[in-house]
Amino acid sequence: MNYDYLLTGPTWTTASVLLLALLVVPALGAAVVAVLPARRDRQARIVATGFAAVTFVLSLVPFFAGERGQGWVAFGGPRDTAPLTPWVNLDLPWVPALGLRFHLGIDGISYPLVVLTGLLTLLCCAYTVRKVPKDGGPGRTLSALLLILEVGVLGTFLSLDLILFFVFFEVVLLPMYAVIAGWGGSERRAAARKFVLYTLFGSVLLLLGVVLVVTKAGTGNLIALTGAPGLTRTTQYVVFALLAVAFAVKAPLWPLHTWLPDAHTEAPTVGSVILAGVLLKMGTYGLIRVGVGVAPLGAEWAAPALGILAVIAILAGSLICLRQRELKRLIAYSSVGHMGFVLLGIATLTITGLQAALLGNVAHGLITGLLFFLAGTIKDRAGTGSLDQLSGLRETAPRLAGLFGFAAIASLGLPGLAGFWGEAFAVVAAVRRGGPFWLTLAILGAVGGALTAAYFLRLLRRLTHGPTTPTVHALRSSTAAVEWFAWTPLILLTLAVGVIPALVLAETALPLTTLLGGHP
């Protein structure tokens, strides 16, 4: 097959240097922070925050520097849709023997996630300057690991080469293990091991899928592979099955979610925020970009099964949350439900559904990030996360209780806040898909949404209202500046995305049309 027409000439432009810088700056930051001596621990954490801030600024730039909206210029050639046209593109050979190219690009699908990653890493690094989890390793190591995680996540979102995607997908594995095992709670070892073995199981399936695609199609170039099925039907089925399981572990999709509650409960606050905010998104992003993009026939074939599992995840997540007695565990299980909505959106294989999924992704990153920050603060102050001992928070810490109420209400999907659009339109997309099957899924999903409201209201009733317990009574109510710094952007963005969802969706229609093979 001839894909030369896609590999356009010289690739070194200012904008493509920017892509490289997005990965090099945090990597360099991690190296610098790691070699700083132990007595400069605090300075090292500030340096890490500086590098994270630079990366965040860089992550905003592609929107202004790239060439957007030229998708139809390249129209033509042996395909019935426009190829993916990344705003910025960087394509260099790396390991020809393995068919691996260093091919990065950014477009409307990945851009919101890239910015989200930059933002959350910055907030977590800043948070670490003041708050290093007790009973753990040195704070500068934690900051360095956060920056390495950022390299892996950004690389995954930017990769336009399948093998490169896999390599970056693997990068996050051990640093996240180290974050949980080094700075987590009392059962951190077991939780970290469960996390790393589960996710490695997922990524080895990804490896098989990716190698299979590259072998059969003769290229790992996602631009060439997307929406132009050069793979036979059987290959697509096999590839999609492998990729779906791989990403379902990461996302996580019921019944492969069991690592998540343990990991979240034991992880330090920043670890939970990064895990929920960006690491889970690698799974759903991968499913959209690689799964649906490369094996559309496989996606069509597996969509009903994916839809059923997604709805089960929504219902199971909500029902489990109704019975949870531990704050962080409850938020973790609520993630299972939210990711269920995202996967339901993907399973419909419509533009609306995928847009709902992308929006749900970003909203979940913002809201659950905020929830974990707040839960971390509460747990930190009260010394326990048990809901039996936490009650009447509004008496002693009214502002904290108010913010938690805001985040919980955003998470249950109140219209006007970020959580609403993703979940509502996942259900709408399922209804529009038509037929008794999708209609049933839509109804069950909506019921799950109602259950979500039920458990969050139950949580609020217990946590913020109710009689004050001795633990809560002894709680310090003052809030550190760094905590406000970490919370404010998330609160504002939750409002902003809720009011103007186009912030996330503006540039997604074109690439999604291509992903779906031109059939909206």
Binding site: V171, L200, V211, T215
Partner: protein, 480 residues
Amino acid sequence: MSQSIDHFALLPLYAAAGTAILAFLADLFVAKRAATVAVTALGALATAVLALVVGPEAGTFCTTGACSWVATWPAAVTAALFAALTAGVLALSVPALRLGIAPAGEFCFLLACSMTGGVVIAYAGDLITLIVGLETLTLPLYVLVGLRRSGPAGRAAAASVTFFLISIVSTAVTLLGAALNYAATGAVHLALLHAASGPFAPLAGVGVALLVIGLAFKVAAVPLHAWAPATYDGAPLPIAAYLSTASKLGGVLALAAVVSRVDARAVTAVLAVLTMTIGNLVALRQTRMVRLLAWSSIAQAGYVLAALALGAAGVPAALAYAVLFMVLEFVAFTVVVALRRPGADGGALLDHRGAGRRSPWLGAALVLALAGLAGLPPGLAGLFAKLSVVNVLVQQNWSWLAAVVVLNAVIALAYYVRVAASLYSLPPRIGRSVADPVLVDAALHPRLPVSRPVAAALAVSVTVAVILGFAPQLLFDALT
């Protein structure tokens, strides 16, 4: 009939053999430990450089259509690797030699002899040369495994005898296989090996199977692996490093030479599946450092065998995997040597608890090596090694074997991560909290100084691992 000999192509061999003789003479006439060690190290480095300088050459000792000494790029690279590993193992031994734990002269001479065998294997063009090379590689190791003046003599002797007996049997099996194959096909040159036809076909089949099984002993493939953990654990640490790198590389090269010419797919595939699965499962339960590394290196041999099960198509991937694995394994052993007292054994895993906190650089190097062995970043070299094996298996439509390989990688991560995490775990609380446990731990485990040769070996091997991690294409180019 006399034939001309291309002495230029033989230069690496001359250098290796010359090193052994020089080491011997230096010990005899100068009788200074430093001189002997320096001569051997320089000789080994000269061998490596000469192998790369000579590069690919026309073969020598030729008959019609085949040569007994074949100088190609893969041969040159692997010969250089043998020499480099020898120099590295020598560097690791320096602290122990300084203390007089083993006699320096004998040690250097035997190590250089072993290196000569490795160089012969790399360039061998016929089965006889190959087996002679393997024996030259292995024979000095029987002595080296047991060569120590102090310490638990019983274990070293037992290790030495186990290794000796198993090796003898495997050589006999290999020779029998070569003989049967020769009887059936009349070929000993690798280039002339071919499948037999007619009434001799079953005989040749048995010959090939015996050949592969005999060579599988050398790479410690299951079910012919039982000698490895006991021998590694009983041997001095640097020799254990040599056994699991250079000696194993010899076996891999010999197997690659055989399976790429004759059909041994079935037996190699079975060996591969057994080796990686059992190696990984048993490694999960190990509590001693060297035994864990031994079992993990058994499992790693399984991945190499998986690529070799493809025949000629899998050889480049198998060699690339083997080379990358050797580098990472060497880094791991070097860190263990640096963390232990000179002449000590690898100790229990518990002895290494918190070592990464006390010596951050050594801890980081061991994490890099273990991550690489698990096939994960930051050990990119290991990631690309796994990727190349999976890639070639899928390309040749052996996806089921690729699936076995990757699932094994998940099992393997469980124990690699256990070791890596224990390096950073906090010391256990001792009774009541009367003192800072970290301080008590630091007082009980003083940071040992790392001697310069060991530090140099570590720096070089880590640098190579990092370079190959970012530019694996260098290696892939060199091996094809």
